[in-house]
Symmetry: C2
Subunit: 188 residues, 2 copies
């Protein structure tokens, strides 16, 4: 029977982020991460497929946290109301206790071209999933794709602000402010 | 003295697109492309750094075709007017004689995960360059980033439509229609 020590996965993730930040992603091995977390390499591979997986695991859950908001919205919601619902719902994935580790993860990704390409791919996947959720909810094209990209963009701008030094507002609060800016912009 | 036969680069590109489509990108070598185009491998490498370069060369020119529209716009243009200017200017890069080869290129890219990641990276680069051009023109944040992403999204939706089977409208015409949909969406 495999024993799952509670918190092992999180400890491995914290160890990985520390090593990626100090040594660089390319210079860190799975064995290094396991050693730093005080577990065997085998234990590392029970939790993650490889070291990149530490940074990108949970992508379905991440995307699902947004699309769930659209699925749960009233049938007569407008496209922009669905965007707001997706943002509110997605913000629940980024509770304040996640802020420090999100900031560390972002710094690692921005320092590595290949990781950045992967992150852009993830951003594109979010946009596509939002488009699908909006079409399923009855929004026609091209409005569904436009609204999906507005939603993804508001999220990305807000997320960057959320992890900025000294920022204390919640992600939800920042998103409301960016959405208000968007309304002003598109009316001008 | 190196002789540049006019059209060699285009012939290599056409040969590459044919081979990528029929055999797959991974199964095609630079030597295959050169042979198909009736030139030496050395000639291939005078025109392209590698086979991926055939698909992604001209990225600066592509991005510059959009940002030039912003740079040339009146100082008092609104953010959405700058978006429209960038789209008009960018559309000039995609003249109708480019449509067939753009369609072939897209099919090759969508069939290959690594190329698709690279293409998403290129899309992100367009968005970032547009954001910089808008800020330089005096648009404040977060409006500059929002407007840049709206611009990139309207372009991508319109481009997909432009290369759709049976579509005959110019890219510029399609973009105007998508921008009008955007205005309706954001007012609702």
């Amino acid at each position: 029977m495999v024993r799952w020590e509670p918190g092992t996965r999180e400890r491995l993730r914290a160890a990985a982020l520390e090593l990626f930040a100090s040594r660089g992603f390319d210079e860190t091995t799975a064995a290094d991460i396991a050693a730093r977390a005080g577990v065997t390499e085998r234990t590392f591979f029970r939790h993650y497929a490889d070291k990149r997986d530490v940074l990108f695991l949970g992508e379905d859950e991440f995307v699902g946290s947004f699309t769930a908001g659209i699925a749960a919205a009233p049938a007569d919601a407008t496209a922009m109301e669905l965007v707001a619902a997706a943002l509110r719902s997605g913000a629940s994935y980024f509770a304040d206790e996640r802020r420090a580790s999100s900031r560390d993860r972002q710094a690692v990704i921005e320092a590595n071209g290949a990781l950045l390409e992967r992150e852009h791919h993830k951003a594109a996947a979010l946009g596509e999933a939002l488009g699908t959720a909006l079409r399923t909810h009855g929004v026609a094209e091209p409005s569904a794709t436009l609204a999906a990209q507005v939603c993804a963009t508001v999220f990305h701008i807000s997320f960057q602000q959320w992890i900025a030094d000294g920022e204390t507002r919640s992600l939800d609060e920042i998103e409301r402010s960016v959405l208000a800016d968007f309304a002003t912009l598109s009316r001008a």
